[in-house]
């Protein structure tokens, strides 16, 4: 599925680890349960981890410097735990790599995802990329600080979403 990042559609070069199959060469995403296996992998290619909503972000603390990507997932767009996971990755663990969001997400949530530290989203099947494009530039102001440390607007806790 296509990725959406910085207002652009990009190709997804990452492979997802298949259950019961040895990890492939190249950039690979593993579930938390196969993190050790991924870290012990020989050969080229970057490593990423897929977090389920119930996974603890804290469990990545040790491995994080060696991870190029962490993917948070939405079983349903109503389940907002991934927002907290993304924010905790940035704020508590100081993670600077790519945070991807995947699963059942809506373009209407895009601004929230970005402000929780998500850098790219996997656009769900059937979701119109144009709507995501529009969501990227729709808003100019927010009413609270976020991990993006946007510029204060000057009144209250308001922040400029784009400088």
């Amino acid at each position: 599925m296509p990725l959406f990042e910085n207002g652009q559609i990009t190709e997804n070069g990452w492979q997802l680890a298949q259950e019961g199959v040895a990890l492939p060469e190249g950039d690979v995403l593993v579930p938390l349960s196969r993190l050790a296996e991924g870290l012990g992998r020989n050969g080229a290619g970057r490593l990423g981890v897929v977090l389920e909503p119930a996974d603890r972000v804290e469990s990545l603390r040790e491995a994080l410097p060696r991870l190029a990507l962490v993917c948070v997932t939405f079983g349903s767009f109503r389940d907002g735990r991934a927002f907290s996971q993304a924010r905790a990755l940035r704020e508590h663990l100081g993670y600077a790599g790519t945070v991807r969001a995947a699963g059942h997400i809506l373009p209407d949530q895009y601004e929230f995802l970005l402000r929780c530290g998500v850098s790219q989203v996997e656009i769900p099947q059937g979701s119109d990329p144009a709507v995501w494009q529009a969501a990227h530039t729709r808003f100019t102001i927010a009413y609270q600080p976020s991990v993006l440390d946007e510029k204060p607007e000057g009144m209250g806790l308001r922040r400029w979403l784009r400088s």
């Binding site: 767009f77 109503r78 389940d79 907002g80 735990r81 927002f83 907290s84 924010r87 905790a88 704020e91 508590h92 809506l106 209407d108 949530q109 601004e111 929230f112 995802l113 970005l114 402000r115 929780c116 119109d128 709507v131 529009a134 729709r138 808003f139 100019t140 102001i141 927010a142 009413y143 609270q144 600080p145 976020s146 991990v147 440390d149 607007e153 009144m155 209250g156 806790l157 308001r158």
Partner: protein
């Protein structure tokens, strides 16, 4: 801002600036686009639902219902007129004030909603976060900025919380809805202990407030009195600490069962100590400086609130007493519907939206316009909606009360029953709501008619009677001294009585008296319960006190006595 504009700041509420207006315009455009995508079929109803709920739009039994936010219950006369306009143009000429100090319109067409939101935006109003699993409208004291017993006006901090929670990126898809109330008085008029978070402010050192933080209270299916996490939260950590509580809730709150998803269930499951430990750990780990609320930010928000320009008046109590002696009906109204003001010569008055036999909380467009006019003329253009579903004029001169009362009375708004039996809280019930098991309105009307006599009600004294049409408890029946819960009994509407609930600083949850009865039987049973109270009370004892002293038994015997 030029000086001449400052005097135009609305009294008691935050005045939007250009940035706030632009924000709201962008949000209305977003919703217009979402409605268009729904109408074209690009969005399924399942996908549209959380988006419309984010904008306060519910699909009820017969039509869409739009719930409009009235932050901390305060609105200006122009805003009230905008609501009257919406009622007239897009609804059936009336609106319904809710227990979250909001207003809802029950007969809305989906395709009209973007236009309605435009009207509201012009009046600096919106419907954002009046539903959905997010932080809801922050409620406050209906006598804020006026009450004699107030330490500080909580509405400035309520506004700060409103702004902070508005489309909060992390807390818009919580396990369940989240309600915050804030009081600036030790006298709890906001039901702080029945909220997800209740805040009670008092003055700390250096002229800055500190807050008691109560968490995990609530009504609904599982009524629970909240627990106090700490009573010394400094103002500058208010946002950071609330972030910490919400983070813990968002991560650990249950999502497998919507009836177990409120924060109260998490607090009960973990226990106060374990919950507090998690909050403290988060609070310690977070980048506190990022979420700091410095005094200059608070003062900048405060500077956008208008303040009433009180006149220096002598205390008007004596003249008022003379007027009361001359007119017993006026005296009764003054006795129940006024509240002491900190400014000499002024008082706050509560306009009852509960006329005898009427629908609790309903107001017609004409009444809204009248209230707006009265606010302009007598109360610095400011109005408040109470969580008891009434309307308050906060700052009225005592020597004008008589003429205000006459105008109210001429328009069906002069009922002298605030705090008495017929000041009933009721949810919309099965007349509107798709969740309800029974109709709340007809039984409220019957009780209201049965006890309409002012002398009788005054004899009974302070009594809170709350009615919910189902166990979701939107009518707060558990918090009523007498509660009525609508249930489905083999396909028939029936009602359970609860006794002993209270929402103030001595909060308690009402207990079920016995099996459910029909509407008429319930009304009769309540009349017999009242009779027991009148016979058994000691001088000066309120209903709730008699109940606590005697226990349920004598009331139960009377309720189920078949004569």
């Amino acid at each position: 801002m030029p000086k001449f504009l400052q005097s135009k700041l609305p009294v008691g509420r935050y005045a939007y600036d250009e940035v706030d207006r632009a924000f709201l315009a962008q949000r209305v455009e977003q919703f217009r686009d979402q409605v268009a995508r729904r109408l074209s079929g690009a969005l399924s109803e399942d996908e549209f639902k959380p988006l419309r709920l984010m904008n306060g739009l519910y699909l009820q039994l017969h039509a869409y219902m739009l719930r409009v936010a009235i932050p901390y219950g305060t609105l200006s006369a122009e805003q009230m007129r905008a609501l009257a306009h919406v009622a007239r143009r897009y609804d059936r000429g009336y609106g319904h004030f809710t227990t979250r100090q909001n207003i809802q319109f029950n007969w809305i067409k989906l395709e009209d909603t973007p236009a309605i939101l435009d009207v509201l935006a012009d009046a600096q109003m919106h419907a954002i976060q009046t539903s959905g699993n997010c932080i809801r409208n922050v409620t406050s004291d209906q006598f804020a900025g006026a009450a004699q017993d107030e330490v500080l006006d909580p509405r400035v901090h309520a506004e700060i919380l409103r702004q902070w929670s508005t489309l909060h990126p992390e807390f818009t898809f919580l396990p369940r809805k989240f309600k915050i109330a804030i009081s600036g008085s030790a006298q709890d008029r906001v039901a702080a202990r029945f909220h997800d978070i209740g805040l009670i402010a008092r003055m700390g050192g250096k002229g800055r407030p500190v807050f008691e933080v109560i968490v995990g209270g609530g009504l609904g299916r599982t009524p629970i009195v909240g627990v106090s996490l700490r009573d010394d939260l400094p103002e500058e950590d208010l946002i950071a600490y609330l972030e910490a509580v919400l983070r813990v809730y968002n991560e650990f709150g249950r999502r497998d069962n919507m009836y177990k998803a409120r924060i109260k269930i998490l607090v009960q499951a973990l226990g106060r100590e374990a919950f507090l430990e998690k909050v403290n750990a988060e609070f310690a780990a977070m980048d506190r400086s990022r979420y700091r609320l410095p005094p200059e930010v608070v003062e900048a928000i405060r500077a956008r609130f208008g303040a009433p320009a009180f006149e220096t008046l002598p205390d008007g109590a004596e003249a008022l007493a003379a007027q009361c002696r001359a007119d017993r009906a006026f005296a009764a109204w003054v006795g129940t519907n006024t509240h002491p003001h900190k400014q000499p010569g002024y008082c706050s008055l509560t306009v009852s939206c509960k006329p005898a036999g009427g629908i609790p909380g309903d107001a017609t467009a004409e009444q809204m316009d009248l209230l707006a006019d009265l606010a302009d003329q007598y109360s610095f253009g400011e109005l408040r909606i109470t969580h008891m579903q009434n309307v308050v004029l906060g700052h009225v001169r005592q020597d004008r009360l008589f003429e205000v009362w006459q105008m109210l009375r001429a328009n069906g708004l002069g009922t002298a029953n605030v705090g008495l039996l017929t000041d009933i809280i009721a949810c919309p019930g099965l007349d509107y709501c798709s969740l309800a098991n029974a109709r709340s309105i007809p039984i409220a009307q019957k009780l209201s008619a049965r006890f309409a006599d002012t002398t009788l009600q005054q004899e009974i004294g302070q009594l809170r009677l709350n009615i919910s049409g189902c166990i979701n408890a939107c009518g707060h029946h558990h918090a009523g001294n007498i509660g009525i819960l609508g249930v489905d009994k083999r396909g028939e509407e029936a009602f359970q009585i609860t006794l002993g609930g209270s929402s103030g600083d001595n909060a308690s949850v009402g207990q079920i008296l016995g099996s459910a009865m029909s509407e008429d039987e319930t009304v009769d049973a309540i009349a017999r319960i009242i009779d027991v109270y009148l016979v058994r009370r000691t001088p000066g004892e309120r209903f709730i006190e008699t109940y606590r002293r005697l226990g349920a038994a004598p009331f139960k015997d009377a309720a189920y006595a078949t004569v």
